[in-house]
Symmetry: C2
Subunit: 113 residues, 2 copies
């Protein structure tokens, strides 16, 4: 397995982990685009949103709940934050392991890229 | 209830609905920022990601599954798409009813706003 996020899960690559449970890991983006920029991933390898099945429904919901909890911990709940996932080439998906970005600590413009 | 998205759910305001099930509705954004720009909402009124509880986990997962299915229907699965939710002022949340944007049909830049 050559996936950089799987290596982060296995602690083969260091990362600044901010949240972890049995099925989910969250860590700081190494090229942050905002004062707070965290990635939330499932520990299991799922390439992207195109590759989810009905079996992943609860896991996907837990990722959204984790986003809310992380925003609270990072003190961006009241000021606001954007949650983004990129799927495929047009969206600029950089790592082929499903990940949700949480960005906060500044104002965000529209459209989102 | 003065929420515009609740009114769309109740068909008090017209919209171009592209997907519907018991708990979720998806319709085209009236100010599209990409060739495909759809909003997915829970039919129940939830203000935003800050207001979700553990009871919403499955619903939130279903919304992500709906995003995948809608991308397939709209023929943006293979070219790629971005899924975004804005929570609060800094993110520019425009309607206080939880909604996820699916955007596709063009390239997206980084950062996402």
């Amino acid at each position: 397995m050559d996936c950089i996020f799987c290596k982060i899960v296995k602690r083969e690559i260091p990362s600044q982990i901010v949240y972890e449970n049995e099925r989910i890991l969250a860590f700081r983006d190494i090229t942050p685009q905002a004062p707070v920029h965290i990635l939330i991933i499932p520990k299991a390898h799922i390439t992207g949103l195109n590759d989810i099945s009905r079996d992943h429904t609860e896991l996907l919901g837990e990722i959204q709940s984790a986003a809310k909890e992380i925003a609270e911990k990072e003190n961006i709940s009241s000021s606001g934050y954007r949650v983004v996932t990129n799927c495929g080439k047009n969206a600029g998906q950089a790592v082929d392991h499903l990940h949700y970005h949480i960005l906060g600590g500044r104002k965000f413009s529209w459209p989102p890229g």
